[in-house]
Symmetry: C2
Subunit: 655 residues, 2 copies
């Protein structure tokens, strides 16, 4: 036994061909991590998410039994990497859905949104004026006629170029400044960063490097973390990447994570996890785009208040208990390295300001991006993530609230749910013959369903009468056999409902022929309805409190990492959004990252974000007398009160 | 021999009774340093300044022969500590002139100046508004009704009390803020520091410590370093201390020190020396006043540009060569710890801004203190240190220049010269019977002469006709014997000129009877005349360049560490200052430290200092065509051109 443990085994990962030598007994997931190979994993290696699937081509291994693999997968030597130990030299194949390159496709199809944002900055909504800039100067050296000291000479040059009434220089920069200027004949690239009203000389380098200035904008969600790499010199997004938040095995939502951290004294660990995730994303983006980490000068984060607290290891304990307050809603820019983020060691980390303990910078980013704070008419904004935050208002007033929606629409807590990455079903419909039509991101074989696909699924099951208003399957065949036939009440076509491990389930994609079977279970449906009910209840409380009627709403904005195409009609059908004319509803995608990028590119946008955060009025739903009632009433499709959804009533009556 | 070296010896220092065990062979100066006993030493232990005298009471020692001890001293077992090795257990007595406590006396007699400054701040010339403040807050904790986050809560509280539109909080403070506030019920002392337009939250502590906030103002001279301990809560100076600049054995003036540092790659060493001196002063003051170093939150330095560069290890090389520029004239406030200064680890270090490579923050402090920048009439300001800097102007314009006066008036380069500390002759006159009347600081036995005493001596020797207009002794007895009689041409009384080791010398204090013989040599006189000539030549260049006549001068301010009482008439008699009516001449003492303290206590004063530094026009004497001529013409008593000194001509003609 001892001998076996000491044995070294070489693991080769296909198709990359990367190899690593590890001691026998090493867990395969760990070996992959050490090789720098990314495997999806929600649970962090605890064996219950079933995402880290990998194929053993040859070699000996030991795998724990798991219910998360189908008999087909087991026959094809698919294992969970986190549950498998290496016992000999091995060759394994990493399925394509893990590989980072595929998300390139998401970026391309998402490209129009990036250019929109660049466009917004260029169009003068916000002046292009990035938080961190690199400026190249060819200064006249001092002479007998011009005694100006080097430090003041530099300030004069900077102030000729940009508006910087209040300036600051770090001691180390000051110390090296003179010899550096002399060494390069006063031709230097100066990195300047805006810290509130203060402009800091972050770095001074010999020669012209002003064309190499990059930033990473990060949307830190409770379940998913999304990063965009931005070229600050051109105001363009050049690549994107996403991962699951690896804190997830400490709890699905941040309240549980705070409890866990408190009980286990694990706030440091919580920070390490999220900082690790952010660093992984940054390194992945930089490596792929062949960018030196030194040339990344800025990281900007938008996230809910708890995530920002975790990221910076601020005291998050009172976020979950009375009086429910943050340590800080407004975080001053800090040296990114101080938080452990691995970009240029003098680069800056910005966080978008929060409103309250339960309404964070991601929501401020959403308000900024949708520009509802500038409009005369009343708008409604809902951001569906692990929490469902809702903002209502216009240029004169803004109210907001947060409901614990749960991560169902992010693919977590749903059997075949996944984030909106390659292979995720993002569009789905039940055709008249009962067959399922779908589109997977990247047009690959589907491996799961993301938020927009789940929304479609729920709406289609409802409008086809396959589930009833409580969300229960209306199985009209016999229960107890392997397949129970259901019939669409809309088309009369048969559909596949079966008895699975978790009770009844509806088959979306048939397994075999290289396809993975994809189903939606009764538990999944219940989770999704709870999520939408939380959001709608929050909307109701805000509308009732401000006496805004559905007809008063001039625009409804739905945000979240759903996928690229979201059928907004379905959001009304299931009763997530109020029943307004469809042309008023806009799917705006991930406004958290969009807002973060806008702020990154313009100081004025940051000021606007600060003003939004300051002026929004927060409604605490937990202590609100009507919230629970509204939540219970919304736990129907679309709602217990059909008069609130006349268009849905009309449509379903037709069936 | 080896055995002897390994032997341990106990050295006991009287009168303190402090003891230390050192290996046999240890140099006594080193033993004293290790014991924390301060011995005067200019040369840093090289055995040529003769200041570190100590008395051996008992024990064996080995001392190198030296010409710096009189036969009397040798008989009384006086040795130079730096030239003496410990060979056995010993008891030694530290002469009183070394001891720090005696400088208390200087402080007391200086007290009116401190209160003047406090008064100036209080009187509303500058509003009392210290650069670093401790504020105590009893904040309302957050509640369900008041969700304001802790960080914003703190900002609100601060902004209720003080003007702070732009605020900044360090990451570490932010991280600990919440748990700290909770632990003490939101009753905290906040240390805030002004960094340009930005107000930084430097520290947050539980409970009320707002009454413990101290600062040290330091005048960093080329030869002497003076420190004042200031209570920032009361705007009072509570103690002072001074030492020689221990860089002195790398060169008398800073040009030589820069050369030395360049040739020997010793800029780090140069910084270590001056930082060590400043730290020694701070520790001495804090220990004596029983103040915790943690309660010292601020250090403010006024010094010439080179000294500030040495202190911060900025590139000083081009201060001594074309184009004669500084790395920085305006130094942003930095964390004192970053420069190695040992106060509160988050405390701030401020440096008064410089004008140019040869006109530093000490001169800006002088202009600030004398307020010549606010006056309608033309003033002249001269600061006599190792350099003689001169400023001319009024509220509309200011010009300045610097001459290498040399450290003669600071007691260095003069046989019995010393800084203005206990035992220094600060006042001297030759009475009608030829006897010398003098006053020593602290009313102790005299041990040397400080600047004001040297000025008196030079003037008295001249007006008594003992030296001629070139400064040469007019010995009218026989040269070559032990005593050469000189006769005062004013009173006809005999005076003691003798042939010493360095040529002719004039005896000021007779040796024996517990008194040390104190003389002034021909070399001393030549040094002093060169010093005053440099200053006067600089004054002439500025006046000629701006076409200001002597009669146009409404005020003449003489600054420097001369002593407490300076006979300004003598400054005219020897031709150091222009011949204006005496009531126009004001001795203003150490304006460098006075200005530093004013700035310390008022942000407005700092702004005024910055404006002064920015607006002053610098004249480079080294490249000025007329300076050398003026210097040669001024190398007479009072001057080659007697028409410039009508009052002196009149007085000396009477003799």
């Amino acid at each position: 036994m001892e001998q076996t443990k000491k044995k070294k085994c070489v693991v080769r990962f296909e198709p990359s061909g990367l190899k690593i030598e590890v001691p026998a007994g090493t867990v395969l997931l760990e070996a992959a991590n050490k090789t720098g190979i990314y495997l999806s994993s929600i649970c962090g290696g605890d064996g219950y998410c079933g995402k880290c699937k990998i194929v053993i081509d040859q070699g000996q291994f030991q795998s724990k039994p798991t219910a998360l693999l189908t008999p087909n997968e087991m026959r094809e030597n698919v294992v969970l990497a986190c549950q498998t130990k290496v016992l000999s030299d091995m060759t394994v194949t990493v399925p394509r859905f893990h590989t980072l390159e595929t998300s390139q496709i998401l970026m391309d199809s998402d490209a129009h949104r990036f250019s929109d944002i660049g466009g917004e900055v260029e169009a003068g909504v916000f002046k292009f004026d990035p938080l961190v800039q690199k400026l190249y100067f060819e200064m006249a050296p001092p002479s007998v006629q011009d005694h100006t000291a080097d430090h003041e000479r530099l300030y004069l040059a900077i102030r000729e170029r940009i508006d910087a009434p209040v300036m600051q220089t770090g001691f180390r920069i000051l110390q090296k400044l003179s010899s550096m200027l002399q060494s390069c004949g006063y031709k230097v690239t100066v990195t300047i960063g805006r810290r509130g009203e203060t402009t800091e000389v972050i770095e001074v380098e010999a020669g012209n490097h002003s064309d190499r200035n990059f930033a990473v904008a990060v949307d830190i969600g409770t379940t998913t973390v999304v990063a965009h790499l931005v070229d600050l010199t051109k105001a363009t997004t050049i690549d994107t990447e996403a991962t699951y938040n690896s804190q997830i095995n400490f709890g699905d939502d941040y309240i549980r994570r705070i409890m866990y951290a408190e009980e286990n004294n694990a706030f440091d660990e919580m920070q390490n996890r999220i900082v690790g995730d952010v660093n992984n994303l940054i390194v992945t983006l930089a490596t792929r785009q062949k960018i030196d980490l030194q040339d990344i000068t800025t990281v900007i984060c938008a996230g809910n208040t708890a995530m920002v607290h975790f990221l910076l290891n601020l005291d998050a304990r009172r976020i979950r208990r009375e009086p429910y307050v943050a340590s800080a809603n407004f975080i001053p820019p800090i040296r990114a390295a101080k938080a452990g983020i691995k970009i240029n060691e003098r680069g800056l980390l910005y966080c978008l300001p929060s409103v309250a303990a339960y309404v964070g910078g991601d929501i401020v980013a959403g308000v900024l991006t949708t520009r509802i704070y500038t409009k005369k008419g009343i708008s409604l904004f809902a951001d569906i993530g692990t929490n469902g935050e809702v903002v209502l208002g216009n240029r004169d007033w803004l109210v907001c609230a947060s409901s614990s929606a749960g991560p169902a629409f992010e693919g977590s807590g749903v059997k075949h749910g996944m984030r909106a990455g390659a292979g995720a079903i993002e569009k789905l419909s039940i055709s008249d013959d009962g067959s399922i039509e779908f589109k997977a991101i990247g047009d690959t074989k589907p491996i799961g369903i993301c938020g927009s696909g789940l929304l479609d699924t729920l709406a289609e099951l409802f409008t086809n009468g396959i589930i009833d208003r409580t969300g229960r399957f209306k199985a009209n065949g016999q229960v107890g056999g392997t397949a129970i036939l259901a019939v669409s009440s809309r088309t009369g076509s048969p559909c596949h409902i079966s008895e699975g491990e978790d009770g009844l389930q509806f088959r979306l994609v048939e397994g075999g022929d290289g396809h993975q079977e994809i189903v939606i279970t009764q538990a999944d449906i219940n989770n999704l309805i709870r999520s939408k009910a939380g959001v709608f209840a929050a909307i109701r409380v805000l509308m009732e409190s401000t006496q805004i009627k559905t007809k008063d709403l001039e625009g409804v904005y739905l945000a979240g990492g759903f996928g690229n195409f979201l059928n907004v009609a379905h959001a009304v059908t299931i009763g997530m959004l109020p029943d307004v004319p469809l042309e008023k509803i806009h799917f705006v995608g991930n406004t958290s990252i969009a807002g973060a990028k806008t702020v990154l590119l313009s100081r004025k946008a940051l000021k606007a974000a600060e003003k939004i955060a300051q002026s929004m009025t927060y409604f605490d739903l937990m202590s609100h007398p009507k919230y629970m009632d509204e939540f219970v009433r919304a736990n129907f499709l679309p709602h217990t009160d059909l008069s609130l959804f006349p268009s849905v009533k009309l449509a379903t009556e037709k069936i």
